[in-house]
């Protein structure tokens, strides 16, 4: 006989002594003890998702329904960059980005279409949304209440990523300065704990730190420090008795690289630290609330463009890191596709990744055993090694005043780690099969198709979306929207108010993503995150010394030091590549103008003209190069800097590379060009050639 006690009663209603007694009673019940090396029953599989969404709500809704048919058990919504950064499809900064890396959602009507036919009281939805998380959550709540039958907010399950610090550190889709951003996070947590109790209001991300080059120790330490900053902020805004539930609602979004043993140890170390934090810093008594809960997307940084089929193996091994040990197994998994370094994955590519999860869960015996690492000396040793390093690093961040104050420090540390990683690959100390070793290959049939093995977003989407949002604005009750937005502005100015109710009201009234964000930008101001490049340590090796000499020689001949502008046009915040180029160019002796992310073509052209640079490098990973690069070339002409040669780097399919070269781009680099010194040589000889100076190096 199983004793059933309502959960809320169990945790709060019973006298502690009685609870201990009951617990003992249940444990000493009549259930026979199972053998310790088998579970009485296999575990239920983790939640399986695919990070998906593109173009508009209608097309993405079709995709979601198909994915659910294939056995996916939760949704993971990818939003496009304008939605993530708070711009409508018709905004200048949205140009080239609409519907590219995710779906464009501008108002409640879009959200309703996106989730049409998917009952939200039963679905578990993860939304990769940060700066505008409060807004997208509001749209989700409103779309749910408008479903037939309505799904009330206390039934909704899912996650908003809502982690702004890692946006400053790595991903780049921030909108507001740190202070107000932390308030938005705290407000969504405070609101959901009370009204949407099954929602995970924040997913603190270690994922992007690893993508930015973090070592396991940095990944653990910076993530935990980030969590502390969030919890400290929430503490000011919720009553102390709710802190246990708050702590219990905080989940993580982690990464797993191909060194899967150490990666597993990393998760065990995180679980220990999290439990410790709950107990010691926040006085969380319930052990269940202190358990590390996380979702995962495995590593993309290590996926190669060369011999891309090998990525399937990498992804499978990385998935082991987060599933092997039961004590820290992932709650939800989404896997990247084999072709991510080539372009956007197609539905078939994503299906292939989903099948991997299903084989792991349903064909293997993984879910039949208790934790297989318990008692392992190797695992325990690795864990304590990581813990020691992480504690030390957390202490450093704390000394700087916590994660918000230490953004500069952490960013610089990540850029530095990434630089070291890159250097190891270049020197061959770190092997990437098919890329810097075992490179001879048969042609891959996977990329031989007419589409080149990737998804191409219909170029008409941007115009369609622009028209649609303008029509939406024309047809709604404008007075209601104006009233809701001015109420929102008023609440935003008053730090003691929670922003969520006014945000939900604006969503109901029909305001747009851009209007919500603009209202808050006016109150909170805008922000540029640190680039982290200034502090990176200079490298020295023979090969670079040679490049450096050539820079000196060319600079002498030019009369001025070779000056190089590294620019990131558009909304794409993935700046890791651009940062590494900037640091290497500096180490090669160039004067490098690097202004960080999110520049308009005219900003780049103005900088190039005023700074008198000799060459320009542009980096785009969001797939918007076809629109943005020609726009930069036009702007350069307008600014009178059309003579300055331009090189481009990013995830750029070969067909696009050809048309970019036709448009006047001097060279195109993709992930297979991993040799940075080689790139520097190209750039030097390009400048030499344009200025009629003899160059001794050359590609």
């Amino acid at each position: 006989m199983v004793l059933t006690i309502p959960t809320e009663f169990w945790f709060t209603g019973i006298e502690p002594a009685l609870r201990r007694h009951l617990k003992g009673f249940i444990q000493s019940g009549p259930m026979p003890e199972p053998p310790s090396h088998r579970l009485p029953e296999p575990d239920r599989p983790w939640m399986m998702r695919t990070y998906a969404g593109h173009s508009d709500a209608r097309r993405s809704n079709e995709l979601y329904r198909k994915n659910l048919e294939k056995g996916q058990t939760g949704l993971s919504i990818a939003f496009d960059l304008p939605t993530q950064t708070g711009y409508d499809p018709d905004h200048e900064l949205a140009k080239g980005e609409v519907g590219k890396v995710g779906v464009s959602i501008a108002h409640k009507g879009d959200m309703e279409t996106l989730l049409d036919g998917i009952p939200l009281d039963q679905m578990n939805t993860s939304m990769t949304i940060n700066a505008t998380a409060a807004w997208l959550l509001a749209l989700y709540i409103v779309a749910a209440e408008n479903q037939d039958p309505p799904a009330p907010e206390d039934k909704l399950q899912g996650t908003t990523q809502n982690d702004i610090l890692k946006e400053y550190l790595s991903r780049g889709t921030y909108a507001f300065p740190p202070g107000p951003s932390m308030r938005l996070i705290a407000d969504t947590i405070a609101y959901t704990v009370e009204h949407v109790p099954k929602w995970n209001p924040i997913n603190i991300c270690s994922y992007h730190l690893q993508e930015a080059g973090a070592t396991p120790v940095q990944e653990i330490a910076f993530t935990m420090s980030n969590a502390i900053a969030v919890l400290d902020a929430v503490k000011q805004r919720v009553p102390q008795e709710l802190m246990g539930s708050v702590f219990g609602r905080i989940s993580f979004f982690v990464n797993a690289g191909v060194r899967f043993i150490e990666e597993h140890a990393k998760l065990r170390a995180m679980a220990i630290l999290w439990d410790e934090l709950g107990r010691e810093r926040y006085g969380v008594e319930d052990e269940k609330h202190r358990r590390l809960r996380y979702g995962v997307q495995v590593n993309s940084l290590g996926l190669t463009e060369a011999q891309p089929e090998n990525n399937v193996y990498r992804i499978a091994l990385e998935a082991l890191a987060v599933t092997l040990g039961r004590n820290v197994r992932a709650r939800a998994i989404q896997l990247p596709a084999w072709n991510e370094a080539l372009g956007l994955p197609r539905p078939w590519d994503q299906q292939w990744s989903l099948r991997l999860q299903q084989i792991l869960a349903y064909e293997t015996d993984l879910l039949e055993y208790p934790d297989i690492f318990e008692g392992s000396k190797v695992m325990d040793g690795l864990v304590s090694e990581l813990l020691e390093g992480a504690r030390e690093e957390m202490h450093r961040v704390a000394e700087l005043g916590g994660a918000v104050e230490a953004v500069d420090y952490m960013k610089a540390a990540l850029v530095e780690s990434h630089r070291r990683r890159w250097q190891r690959i270049e020197s061959g100390d770190q092997i990437a099969v098919g890329m810097n070793k075992f490179t001879s290959t048969e042609p891959s049939p996977l990329t031989a198709g007419a589409d080149g093995g990737i998804l191409v977003v219909d170029p008409e989407v941007e115009a369609e979306r622009t028209h649609a949002v303008q029509q939406w604005r024309a047809e709604r009750d404008q007075a209601a929207v104006d009233a809701a937005l001015s109420q929102l502005a008023e609440i935003a100015q008053n730090d003691s108010e929670n922003i969520m109710p006014a945000t939900i009201a604006a969503a109901r009234a029909g305001a747009t993503t851009g209007e919500w964000a603009q209202t808050l930008r006016e109150v909170f101001g805008e922000y540029r995150a640190p680039t982290g490049v200034g502090e990176a340590v200079a490298v020295g090796n023979e090969d670079l010394a040679e490049v450096r000499e050539e820079v000196e020689r060319i600079s002498e001949a030019l009369g001025r030091r070779l000056k190089f502008l590294v620019g990131k046009p558009g909304l794409d915040g993935h700046s890791n590549g651009a940062e590494q180029i900037a640091v290497r160019a500096r180490d090669a002796g160039m004067d490098v103008v690097y202004e960080g992310i999110r520049l308009t073509p005219s900003q780049i052209a103005t900088s190039a003209a005023q700074e008198g640079v000799h060459v320009i490098g542009l980096s785009i990973l969001s797939g918007s190069h076809r629109e943005l690069i020609p726009a930069v070339m036009d702007a350069l002409r307008e600014a009178g800097a059309e003579d300055v040669p331009v090189v481009v780097g990013g995830i750029i399919p070969e067909a696009d590379a050809a048309s970019l070269r036709e448009a006047g781009v001097a060279a195109v680099y993709t992930p297979k060009d991993w040799n940075l010194n080689g790139m520097m040589r190209d750039i030097i000889s390009l400048v030499a050639e344009r200025h009629g100076v003899q160059s001794a190096v050359g590609a």
Binding site: R548, R560, V593, E595, T606, Q610, R690
Partner: protein
């Protein structure tokens, strides 16, 4: 070829004199260049914008803005530039970056943090590396400021540091503003100990921080009083919205300029600049040939006060015995 498009220095100098702002970038390309024919052209350029050619001192207000890293100079400049633009004044900013490395290369990221409208053709920002000289201005920055002062209404020289570079920036700018943030105890000590010269204007940023700011403000006033510099303006500003104190700061800078004997300050700046360039080129031996720094400066003050720096420098070379 880009080099050919640079045109000759004289032409660029004339364009600047005619307040053609589009000549600024090419003019600085020349001024920064160490190639010998470029240097000849730069000399011609500077002669075209000398007081002799202009019929008086260049009209711009040259403002030096300096302070330790992280005190909010860029945010402050964003607001100040906005203020000047609202008065229809054109602005050039010369941002001198201290991050010079062994490799010789540098990362210049300052312009990003100064928010401006990229389509506004009357704002010009140029970043330069401080180069190998310790804590000071980029070698070409003084010349750049002199040239741009003919074309723009305001020329800002932004440097990083406190304690060493003020003297040098004071020789290049009409008005020097030192920027501090609350709880800058070390700077206060520098001031009191006389390590740092009293600037023309002191700016306290981040006054939204409250109690700390009020205390620092009081400490600053007390220190200035003790130094007998009670007429030095102390401006409290906050650059985060809603920005505060920016108009007052712009007015204080302007007021300093009106109080100033501008021709005298500029002449002194040119003399020091010429002497500095001479010393870099000809070293201690060159200075000895002039009878030492003090003698040389005295001699320079007897020369035509309206000459451009390269011409003053040439005069020094001739006096030192035509050698080099």
């Amino acid at each position: 070829m880009i080099r050919a498009r640079v045109g000759n220095g004289r032409e660029l100098g004339r364009r600047l004199r005619d307040r053609d702002l589009t000549a600024a970038s090419a003019a600085l390309n020349l001024i920064e260049s160490r190639a010998s024919d470029d240097r000849e052209q730069a000399r011609a350029l500077l002669a075209e914008v000398s007081p002799a050619a202009l019929g008086g001192e260049a009209p711009a207000h040259i403002v030096g803005v300096t302070g330790p890293p992280g005190v909010g100079k860029s945010s402050l400049l964003s607001r100040l530039v906005g203020r000047w633009r609202s008065q229809q004044r054109s602005v050039a900013v010369l941002a001198v970056d201290p991050s010079s490395r062994r490799s010789g290369g540098s990362l210049l990221g300052d312009r990003a943090r100064i928010e401006t409208d990229p389509k506004d053709r009357e704002v010009f920002i140029r970043s330069t590396a401080a180069g190998t000289r310790l804590g000071g201005l980029a070698p070409a920055t003084r010349a750049a400021a002199e040239a741009l002062a003919a074309a723009f209404d305001v020329v800002v020289i932004e440097t990083v540091g406190v304690g060493q570079s003020e003297t040098e920036i004071a020789d290049a700018a009409d008005t020097v503003a030192v920027v501090l943030q609350p709880a800058s105890g070390d700077v206060l000590q520098f001031l009191k100990a006389g390590i740092m010269e009293v600037p023309d204007v002191l700016v306290l940023t981040k006054t939204d921080l409250g109690a700390d700011a009020v205390r620092t403000m009081a400490d600053l006033r007390a220190a200035l009083l003790a130094l007998g510099a009670s007429d030095t303006e102390v401006c409290a500003v906050s650059s985060v919205p809603p920005a505060r104190g920016i108009i007052e700061l712009a007015d204080a800078l302007e007021a300093h300029r009106r109080r100033l004997d501008l021709p005298e300050r500029r002449r002194r700046a040119r003399r020091r600049h010429a002497l500095e360039s001479f010393a870099v080129e000809h070293g201690e031996r060159g200075l000895r040939a002039l009878g030492g720094r003090v003698q040389a400066e005295r001699w320079l003050s007897d020369q035509d006060p309206d000459l451009a720096v390269p011409d003053l420098e040439r005069a020094l070379v001739e006096r030192a015995g035509g050698g080099g």
